[in-house]
């Protein structure tokens, strides 16, 4: 079993999907010869040829629209948007066609598409390269939105996303791409697409998060355990639909909920988690819910990005407050 980084796990899953299914076609900017700006597709064009691994013209609207067209004729496109901040020119296609085609045609034309994109900040990148825009996708019915937090989950969830008969937005946290290695068996086994993962058990407070923040939350939980505060850490992984039951079960036990995400707070996915608990789990709550999130400002250019992204210290403090009240 190989120890691989998250980006290598993505590459492994893509290679396997290309190998197993002739209908899988990759497309995106610089994914071919160059192997992707993060090297997620390295070696794949060489191996599967330029029609299976296509360098797109520089137009996200074409990448998404072409995926829609290919899918309508039975292919299974896996598109890459170079950074999530460049999703905007693709949104018309994603929202108005990808998310709706099955419904609009009452099941006649379907959209087995994956749109992969690097997500979030923390890697000292240029402006517009560090955005966390999951809300924009989650609000559109008909899309699944997935954000893995480890190499193994990236592998299993990406395979599941590619095999899923509906469009899946696959958000890959940039700061996890090479953060650490994990043993990942290239066994072709997919993970379930709409289940949250409980990463740590604790009895005092439920901490819900996803993507890169998962690691900061786990670090915070570790620190808090020294103060005898037990965190039940849930990695949502699927941001649409959300596995609310797992969250509610946990809150039923802990009575306290902290949500941590990197995206801006206002209408972030954390609001949906909080709202659902305030609807379905209100009587379990012993203390106010807390959200520890990016601020409602523009994601700053990198000098200030670590002031924007919730830090371990901020998480520790927020959880502590939640437990104290």
């Amino acid at each position: 079993m190989a120890k691989v980084t998250l980006v290598e796990a993505v590459n492994m899953a893509l290679a396997r999907a290309l190998e197993q299914d002739q209908d899988v076609v990759l497309l995106g900017e610089d994914i071919g010869r160059n192997g992707g700006v993060f090297r997620a597709t390295v070696g794949l064009q060489e191996r599967f040829g330029p029609l299976r691994v296509q360098d797109s013209t520089l137009a996200e609207g074409v990448i998404a629209g072409m995926a829609v067209g290919m899918a309508s004729q039975g292919l299974k496109p896996v598109a890459e948007i170079q950074f999530m901040g460049f999703i905007y020119p693709a949104l018309d296609q994603i929202a108005n066609h990808m998310a709706r085609m099955r419904n609009r045609t009452r099941g006649r034309l379907t959209m087995p598409i994956v749109v992969r994109m690097p997500h979030g900040g923390g890697i000292h990148a240029p402006e517009h390269h560090s955005e966390s825009l999951e809300t924009l996708l989650c609000h559109h019915a008909g899309l699944r939105v997935i954000c893995p937090s480890s190499p193994a989950r990236a592998y299993g969830l990406l395979l599941a996303a590619i095999r899923d008969p509906d469009p899946v937005m696959f958000l890959e946290p940039t700061r996890l791409y090479r953060m650490s290695k994990q043993e990942v068996l290239d066994d072709g086994l997919a993970l379930p697409l709409d289940r949250a993962f409980r990463l740590r058990e604790g009895e005092d407070v439920t901490v819900v998060t996803w993507g890169a923040m998962t690691h900061d939350v786990l670090r915070a939980a570790e620190q808090l355990s020294l103060e005898k505060i037990g965190c039940d850490v849930i990695d949502l992984a699927s941001l649409s639909p959300i596995d609310h039951d797992t969250v509610l079960d946990s809150v039923a036990r802990t009575g306290r909920l902290v949500i941590v995400h990197e995206a801006a707070r206002h209408c972030g996915v954390g609001a949906e988690v909080a709202a659902t608990v305030a609807e379905r789990g209100l009587h379990d709550l012993l203390a106010p819910i807390r959200r520890i999130t990016g601020y409602d400002t523009v994601m700053p250019y990198f000098k200030l990005e670590h002031d924007y992204i919730p830090s371990v210290a901020r998480i520790v403090d927020g959880v502590r407050e939640a437990v104290r009240t």
């Binding site: 076609v25 074409v62 629209g65 004729q73 039975g74 496109p77 085609m101 008969p165």
Partner: protein, 362 residues
Amino acid sequence: MKNVAEFTIRLEQVLGADGKPSGTLPDFARDAAEVERMYRMMTLCRLFDAKAINLQRTGRLGTYAPCTGHEATHVGVGAAMRQDDVLCPVYREYGTQLWRGVTLTEILVYWGGDERGTHFAGPRQDLPWCVPIASQMPIAAGVAMAFKVRNEPRCAVAYIGDGGTSEGAFYEAMNAAGAQKLPVVFVVVNNGWAISVPVAAQTAAQTLAQKAIAAGIPGVQVDGNDVLGVRSVMESALERARSGGGPTVVEALTYRLSDHTTADDATRYRPADELEAAWLREPLLRTRRYLESMGNWDEAREKSLREDCAAQIESAVRAYQTTPKDSTDAMFDHLFATLPEALEEQKDAARRWSSVNGGVGH
């Protein structure tokens, strides 16, 4: 300065407004049965349009986008396509769709506010109507890419209006299709207007065909009221695409003889004399004259054709009007292959409230 590239845009016309050949007749134009087939479909479209507008005016149909004036373009394109080609329409190209097997009933069900109208029992792979202007263009490129990947001798055909050519998606798609030599034909239906905006206000380009030059692909104009010309130009473009030559832009010059949709009132912005002049160039009469000149048409046949069409239309209207409203389950059942558990509760609620509301909240 030295010249590095030169381009010419040409205009094709086979049948003049007077119904007399004005260019070299293609073979199919000498086949009276074939010309009749096209004329019959054009007539059906014209009569259907009137009926649909009437249904809307009398509260029995939603907003409807008429096709009157565009029949030659729509039928010419349809007739040039093969059945296993794929159409990416906008919203008013009924002539092409009917030719390909979409039914009058489906069209009515659609504009009656019901997604089931796009279920297309006939051309199963065709895209549904596309309201977000120009967004069908990249999709058509993708359809063509699927054919290329699978090495199938099939083409995509995408429609777009003159107004639509102002959207970036139009150009992005042309450019990508050119760069990747995709088997797709982009048909620009220049009907003079985009709702209230005339072509001259939409672009400084003197032709819309020349927009192809930006993508490095051929662009050609055709008299869009000349069904023979349209079919002929389309056949060449499709042949080229099918044999690996890449995409073409065909600009069909026609005129929107109706309001933009039934929600529009063109008299607010459109000069009456322009409309009057356009009626002199409309496509049906010239096709009929041509058929007559082939000795293949007379008043009696015209009358019987109109009766046939009326009967077809009536039966479609009946089928439409007896289609019961879809259940709210449909909103959920076609969202995903398998409804996520989280949505089961909403599906139940929708069903419950639908019966309580009786469909109206206001």
